[in-house]
């Protein structure tokens, strides 16, 4: 019996349910498709560290569930508001609160299940597209394929239940708390522009906010170029300034609009009066709503932006992490000849164009390795850097890790000379070279190395040996595991230097640039897609809030539009007014976030484009995101417009 009543109710209040329904479909679609992408065997097998992507996606889904449960309770709250009279009447008729709750629950469960199934179907389509995008990033041949993931389905279902449960529970509490009187009560008072807030003061505040946004962008750009930890300070400061500026401007936008329009006698032209009344009667709440929407959109676009830039940043760091095509490191006193076998092994796979075998020497009393000048210069010329001169009684430091530079400089200030085996070495110009040489393993450890004359290096113990190679065409990702297999296989028999014994633990390291590249693409993909995932959910959040707000005052709006219809405003003009009113709320909050985003994007492009390995990723990715954004946003706009119009121009021919 409840079920029948519920079905009839859904049919009757279909207009209230549409936005809710669409929002849940979108959420399920996005959640399922990203989870399916994260679980896809196809994607995970692309590179060795791809499984981390799965972890990220699952973690993000928890956050998305939280945000979505907010949307659900907002949506349910909206429907409660729309139907408060109906519920109050049920209550007046003597229906118990429990029964009303049950009715409402059944209605929602039906809607929820239906939306879940449709979302799932749409999500399945979307996974195919997302998979293609990922494969495109990795340059893997691809074709559109529909596949289904049980794991993703189960997990989406769990998250869906959580979000739905949390959202519904909140709204059920609202029904219980609201008195019948409250449910019947409705206010039609207009909100007033507070008298204390003087126009000039408000103008000053808005101008100040514009400056805040400018400063925010400037600080952000500056922070991104900085190479110290204080960059975070700049970035956080910039984000706070941006958000605060955007908030304040939109908070005051309707008030400014109305004040301006009144001053300029603009209000007496055509239907401006009506439009201003529509905006003005909720001047405070519309300002608040525009501000919140703008903030959400800014966050969403920024998330997208950060996803992009961090992804690109990974690529920028690539050169530092993998300056050599291939390299092998052993912290053991092997002879240089030990690696002949390895080099010919690699040569079979990928022709070796050049190789350097060299030692890192222990320096007594210092926690730094020493590198002979001739080896240093050999490495430099392999990397295409100029060779350096160094007198026998001097040293220099090479440090490619910017976090250490300050402390090394401080240590050198305190104690400028280095004593090695009775020889005192100076560094009169306090030279520290900073070019990327991979100093965590290959050309040093911990990120820095001491360069000394060959004669001095020769006196020091050589307990660490390194091989770096330049390969034809840069090598292949598989080389890394093949080298490791070769070194561990027993085919390889290293010789010890005369008089040395093998240490108990031998540390081995293998780096292959091609492998590193494909892994950095993984990070790029993970970060970008996670950003995309989050930003889409934020867009859904702001769109549904916008739509619900616009539809919440339909009764009043219908009456208002009927009145102007009666006094002779043409239907065409009324349609125009509807569009004007709705786009004020839908599109004006977009303006600032898009400007901020464009400036940040432009800056990022300038800062990072030089480092981006695969050209066209940012435009491609940006295009995809903007397309998705535009689709979602216009879907909400069109549906809201349609509902708005069909309600306002109801029983009319």
């Amino acid at each position: 019996m409840y079920f029948k009543l519920a079905r009839r109710n859904i049919k009757r209040s279909a207009k209230d349910y549409v936005i809710y329904f669409i929002t849940i479909i979108f959420i399920v679609m996005i959640m399922y498709s990203f989870l399916a992408l994260g679980f896809s065997a196809d994607i995970i097998s692309i590179s060795e560290n791809m499984p981390i992507f799965t972890t990220y996606i699952i973690a993000l889904s928890v956050i998305v569930t939280l945000i979505s449960s907010f949307i659900v309770s907002y949506a349910v709250g909206f429907m409660l508001k729309q139907r408060k009279k109906e519920f109050a009447i049920y209550e007046l008729l003597g229906m118990e609160v429990g029964a009303i709750q049950k009715l409402f629950l059944i209605e929602n469960a039906v809607i929820g299940v239906l939306a879940f199934l449709i979302g799932l179907a749409a999500g399945t389509m979307l996974v195919g597209i997302l998979t293609q995008i990922v494969k495109n990033i990795f340059d893997i041949p691809h074709s559109y394929r529909v596949s289904f993931s049980i794991k993703a389905l189960l997990l989406s279902f769990v998250f869906f239940m959580l979000m739905y449960g949390a959202g519904l529970a909140r709204s059920i509490r609202i029904i219980r708390q609201k008195k019948t009187v409250d449910l019947l009560y409705d206010s039609r008072k207009n909100e007033v522009i507070s008298k204390q807030g003087r126009t000039s003061l408000r103008l000053a505040l808005v101008i100040f906010s514009v400056f805040a946004i400018g400063t925010g962008i400037f600080l952000g750009g500056y922070g991104l170029t900085m190479q110290t930890n204080s960059a975070w300070g700049y970035l956080i400061g910039s984000i706070i300034l941006l958000l605060a500026g955007v908030y304040v401007i939109y908070r005051n936008f309707p008030i400014m609009l109305i004040t301006y329009a009144k001053r300029k006698n603009l209000k007496y032209s055509e239907c401006n009066l009506f439009y201003l009344g529509q905006i003005g009667h909720r001047v405070q709440s519309s300002g608040r709503m525009m501000a919140i929407t703008a903030i959400l959109l800014t966050i969403s676009l920024m998330t997208m932006f950060i996803g992009l830039v961090t992804g690109a940043g990974y690529k920028a760091n690539m050169e530092t992490y993998y300056p050599y095509d291939a390299g092998v490191a052993f912290d053991a006193p092997f002879t240089k000849n030990s690696f002949d076998g390895l080099i010919s092994f690699v040569d079979e796979k990928c022709p070796v164009q050049e190789e350097i075998v060299f030692y890192l020497h222990d320096v007594d009393g210092y926690s730094i390795d020493a590198l002979a000048l001739s080896d240093y210069n050999a490495l430099r010329s392999m990397l295409g850097l100029e060779t350096v001169e160094l007198p026998d009684d001097e040293y220099l430091v090479h440090c490619d890790t910017w976090t250490h530079i300050e402390s090394i400089r401080a240590a050198m200030n305190k104690q400028p000379d280095v004593t090695i085996m009775d020889a005192t070495l100076k560094n009169p110009q306090a030279r520290i070279n900073e070019e990327a040489m991979e100093q965590f393993q290959m050309a040093g450890t911990n990120g820095y190395v001491l360069i000394v004359a060959d004669t001095i290096a020769a006196m020091l113990p050589a307990n660490k040996i390194r091989v770096v190679m330049k390969l034809e065409n840069g090598g292949i990702p598989e080389l890394r595991s093949e080298i490791r297999r070769y070194l561990n296989s027993g085919q390889w028999h290293p010789e010890l230097q005369a008089g040395e014994i093998l240490p108990e633990h031998v540390t081995m390291g293998v780096t292959v640039k091609a492998w590193g590249l494909s892994n950095s693409l993984t990070s790029f993909t993970s970060i970008s897609f996670c950003g995309l995932y989050l930003s889409i959910v934020f867009i859904l959040l702001s769109c549904s809030i916008l739509a619900f707000e616009q539809l919440s005052a339909l009764d009043i709006n219908r009456r208002n539009y009927q009145i102007i219809d009666k006094i002779g405003v043409s239907r065409q003009m009324q349609q125009k007014l509807v569009h004007r009113e709705l786009s004020t709320f839908f599109f004006i909050p977009l303006v600032l976030p898009i400007i901020v985003m464009a400036v940040l994007m432009f800056g990022a492009q300038r800062l990072y484009s030089a480092y981006v390995y695969q050209k066209g990723i940012i435009p491609l990715y940006g295009f995809a995101t903007i397309t998705i954004f535009a689709i979602l946003y216009s879907a909400y706009y069109v549906v809201t417009c349609h509902l708005f119009k069909s309600n306002i121009f109801m029983n009319k021919t």
Binding site: L273, I567, M573
Partner: protein, 257 residues
């Protein structure tokens, strides 16, 4: 005064069909109005007066029959022209006021002017002038929900009359007013009638208000029950005649006096 026919109602009918439950609001009504006439419409509550005005003003569509306004059949007119006709030639004083709660009284009145593209500089002056006439100048900046029913009624009149329309449809414009205010309002309407030659159709329950008209139509159950002309009668005589007809209909007039 030229005697051109401005309005002809030709056997109109209006039913409301609420899911099988049919209400015949207008059974069959025919009459015509000459340009510059002031026609009163009287009848008991529910006799179809508002429905008739709505059909004439094209706010509602007649179920059958034709309505010719200045020669055009408004039952067949295009939507775009309807809106134009309404805003340029018609002033409608609604029974339930139909003021916008989102706008102040002065903005509500100004709306008629702005949708008719009156130049913005003139708007304030015109609004103020009519507000002074109807004695609502001191509430111009209030919102409709902040003023009394009678003030709302005068505001609704001001909005309908400010544009000096050719045809005024007034649905009980004095219903919520005291005798002084109604007198002021009626003379305003009458001056628009005599000075500008506007045609007026005014629904009223009040025989005194009706006595300002030059002709009175009586409605009962969706049909015209009778008609009296003022011609050369004084208002007093006309008023007595009206009361006679009303007693015949048995319409609720007793509460007026």
């Amino acid at each position: 005064m030229s005697m051109r026919e401005i309005l002809r109602i030709d056997h109109i009918q209006k039913y409301y069909d609420n899911s099988g439950n049919i209400t015949k609001a207008i059974k069959d009504i025919s009459f015509s109005v000459q340009e510059g006439e002031f026609v009163g419409i009287m009848g008991a509550s529910g006799s179809g007066k508002t429905t008739l005005l709505n059909c004439i003003s094209t706010i509602d569509r007649a179920s059958a029959g034709h309505i010719y306004l200045a020669g055009t059949d408004v039952t067949e007119i295009k939507e775009k022209e309807i809106a134009r006709f309404r805003r340029e030639n018609l002033g409608f004083v609604f029974q339930d006021f139909n003021l916008l709660d989102t706008l102040t009284v002065s903005e509500n009145i100004a709306l008629t002017l702005t949708i008719n593209h009156v130049s913005p500089e003139q708007v304030s002056g015109l609004v103020h002038k009519i507000a002074v006439t109807l004695d609502i100048a001191d509430i111009l900046e209030k919102y409709p929900y902040q003023i009394s029913g009678g003030q709302k009624q005068r505001c609704a009149c001001a909005r309908a009359l400010i544009n000096k329309p050719k045809l005024i449809l007034a649905d009980e414009p004095t219903g919520a007013l005291d005798s002084h205010s109604s007198q002021v309002l009626l003379s305003t309407i009458q001056s628009i009638n005599t000075e500008l030659g506007a045609t007026i159709l005014m629904v009223t329950h009040d025989a005194f208000s009706a006595s300002h008209a030059s002709r009175i139509l009586f409605l009962r159950d969706g049909e015209i029950f009778g008609e009296i002309l003022k011609e050369h009668d004084t208002r007093r005589v006309f008023f007595e005649k009206t009361l006679d007809v009303l007693t015949k209909i048995g319409g609720g007039v007793g509460d007026v006096f």
